[in-house]
Amino acid sequence: MATEITTRKTDIGPPHYQKYLPPVIQKNYGKWKFHEILKPGVLLHVAESGDKLYSVRAAAPRLTSTKTIRLFAELADQFCGGYLRYTSRNNIEFLLTDEKQIAPLIERLKKEGYPVGGMGPSITNIVHTQGWVHCHSAASDASGVVKSVMDELFPHFEKMDLPGKLRIAFACCLNMCGAVHCSDIAILAVHRTLPKINKEALPKMCEIPTTVASCPTGAIRPKMVDGKQSVEIIEEQCMYCGNCFTVCPAMTLADAENDGLSIWVGGKVSNARHEPMFSKLAIPFIPNNPPRWPEVVAAVKNIVDVYAKNASKYERMGEWIERIGWPRFFKLTGIEFTKYHIDDFRHAGESYKRSTHLKHTPAEG
């Protein structure tokens, strides 16, 4: 039988990177001298040759329609010879050589609803996951929470008014496709109830040994149910990580009443000053409250406000907290410290305080 597709290319890889670089970059590749932020959202790079490149950064939603991509393409044609790039945090950047085009481009972007900013000591785009839009294991929606939080924090996107960079990330379950575990503020959706075993489907859909082996705490055991091979879960040992669901679709985790969000603080990936750090738990649980999650927005806003008021220049969230100490962080933010803040997984003891280096306050009265 003749194949339908006669020419079929495979393994060609991505387009070569030189194809899409504007002439000013082709000419000055590897020969940039310095850069500076001219104003929020506008970056100037100066080459050894004296050539100048202006990058105008605009907020884009990660979930984008082709119609908006076409708009960006049209703007690139109009203002910068058709050259643009995306950043690692889902922003769009227009690459200009004509300084006079900066102001009209910014005006047009604002008019179309894509504001310019997100540079220097500011809050830029939140990297996030799919959420209810397209994921099977989501404990919340990603796009909705991100939109709600950024509407509130928007002044910090357009201005550079914070002590240091503040990077926020959102993941809709512990799989953390958004790898939020090293962010200044991480919003992490969590499941809190046992996987629900579909006893009809499980024997057909899942390999029992793989399912049992998937559990990091050994909470899953093989069990005969109604004469068929199935599993049982030891409730006390389950920490709702969802790894079993990943290998066995018949063990669903979603729970409308008990799924929600947790908030983590003080992580970073950059090596500047302090070494990279993980984010640490600030708030164990806030219920899902769509469409605008006001409790989550208020909690994030509070942490940002306290940081903005108290941190010193250049200090990232984690560096500031390390300087003042966690007891003072909880006091200043008014966040309650609970038993859930104390680690109880692998190497938990490493986070216990093992010295008398404590900041006491005199007894009142």
């Binding site: 329609s65 995306y86 889902n90 839009v133 099977h136 990936v269 090596n271 250049y314």
Partner: protein
């Protein structure tokens, strides 16, 4: 086009406010696409019920590839038939995410004809994400993509699409050519990218300097982070110019923030003890006109970072303190292949390489891949005296 638009009062709330709205984007696509209309409908249902409606995976793909497509089906297809099948396509992004307007329009042409018109620019690993299409559209999309010079990215237990910062294209701090390196590595390992044969996923991210704009130290099984061996380059006139600017305090903001306390400022001269500098980038970030990384540039190779699933989150740790990253990248490829061989042979199902190293021990891992242990690999030597001595080996 049969109109499937349903009221979305909850989602409509998310069209308000100054931040760009994903609901507006979905509605833009829904003007001309029934699948996007159903997607709005099912999302509104999720907002009502506080629960997602997507089922677990399902194996779909294009002929000859094991990765690049993620199967997705909803659990109420009777209500939302246009997205009964709604698969994701990962398209390998151009290195550094640089585009021409024509390239973007070509991608839009393909996706509007064969899918929902909704995308992620970009996904967490760096790919262009085409969000939602039917199984029958996969081969035509693949055919048109390759015709246009694009190929699929990774998914499942394969080498995931490698990604890189903008590097030398637009940054004076790039200590190696991230775009050239990521392109070379991606092309060298097309088979590993498209045909999953590992215990689990393997991500490679390339950052040109220790600022790590692609978060490689947290998000990549192999993190290649640019650095330098010689002295920070100092332009004395620019140091003076910086010092005379408004609200400038070199003693407090530069010297005072140096993590290795290797700098001095007497009000006129900035001194740097480069032998004690840990290449953190702070002073260079703060004074980009006055200071720059040295000229003897390369990268630190770190291995093993990952998100929490399964044994807890890890950051990458040092495997090679300093390596020149230059074509044909033989040293780098030798390391990659040695690690893959050991891990593929001995790793457990769904065990990332970082977890594998923790299980067998970094010392044993090094021995197996033929690397000598050096003190740069640890923050301190062990404190526990339970040593697995091997007196036969010496």
């Amino acid at each position: 086009m049969a109109d499937k638009k349903k009221p979305t009062p909850k989602l409509d709330e998310l069209e308000k406010g100054p931040w760009p709205s994903f609901v507006k984007e979905m509605k833009l696509s829904a003007e001309t696409n029934v699948a996007a209309q159903d997607l709005l409908g099912i999302l509104e249902r999720s907002y009502d019920e506080k629960i997602g409606h997507w089922k677990h995976g399902g194996i779909v793909g294009v002929k000859g590839y094991g990765g690049g497509i993620i199967g997705r089906y909803n659990d109420i297809p009777q209500d939302f038939p246009e997205i009964a099948e709604f698969h994701t396509i990962r398209v390998n992004q151009p290195p550094g995410w640089f585009y021409s307007s024509d390239a973007l329009r070509t991608l839009c042409d393909i996706w509007e004809k064969h899918g929902s018109g909704l995308t992620n620019m970009h996904g967490s690993t760096g790919d262009i994400i085409f969000l939602g299409t039917k199984t029958t559209e996969l081969e035509p999309i693949f055919s048109k993509l390759t015709e246009a010079g694009f190929d699929l990215g990774g998914s499942g237990s394969d080498m995931r699409t490698p990604s890189a910062c903008c590097g030398m294209a637009r940054c004076e701090w790039a200590c190696y050519d991230t775009l050239a390196a990521v392109y070379n590595i991606t092309m060298t390992y097309q088979d590993e990218l498209h045909r999953p044969a590992f215990p689990y996923k393997f991500k490679i991210k390339m950052a040109g300097c220790p600022n790590d704009c692609v978060a490689s130290i947290a998000r990549a099984d192999m993190s290649i982070i640019g650095t330098w061996r010689d002295s920070i380059q100092v332009d004395k006139d620019q140091v003076t110019a910086y010092a005379s600017g408004p609200n400038r305090d070199i003693a407090r903001d530069i010297v005072g923030k140096c993590p290795s306390k290797c700098m001095g400022w007497d009000g006129k001269n900035l001194t740097i003890d480069d032998s004690n500098c840990v290449r953190c980038m702070h002073c260079i970030n703060a004074m980009p006109k006055a200071l720059a990384p040295g000229k003897d540039r390369g990268a630190t190779i770190l291995v093993g970072s990952k998100a929490p699933i399964i044994e807890g989150a890890l950051l990458s740790s040092v495997m090679i303190p300093f390596l020149k990253i230059e074509p044909p990248y033989d040293d780098l490829k030798e390391l990659i292949q040695a690690m893959w061989e050991l891990w593929a042979e001995n790793g457990k199902n769904r065990e990332r390489i970082g977890e594998f190293i923790q299980r067998i021990g970094l010392g044993n891992f090094l021995e197996q891949i033929g690397l000598e242990p050096v003190p740069e690999m640890v923050s301190q030597p062990r404190t526990n005296p339970y040593v697995f001595y091997d007196i036969k080996k010496g």
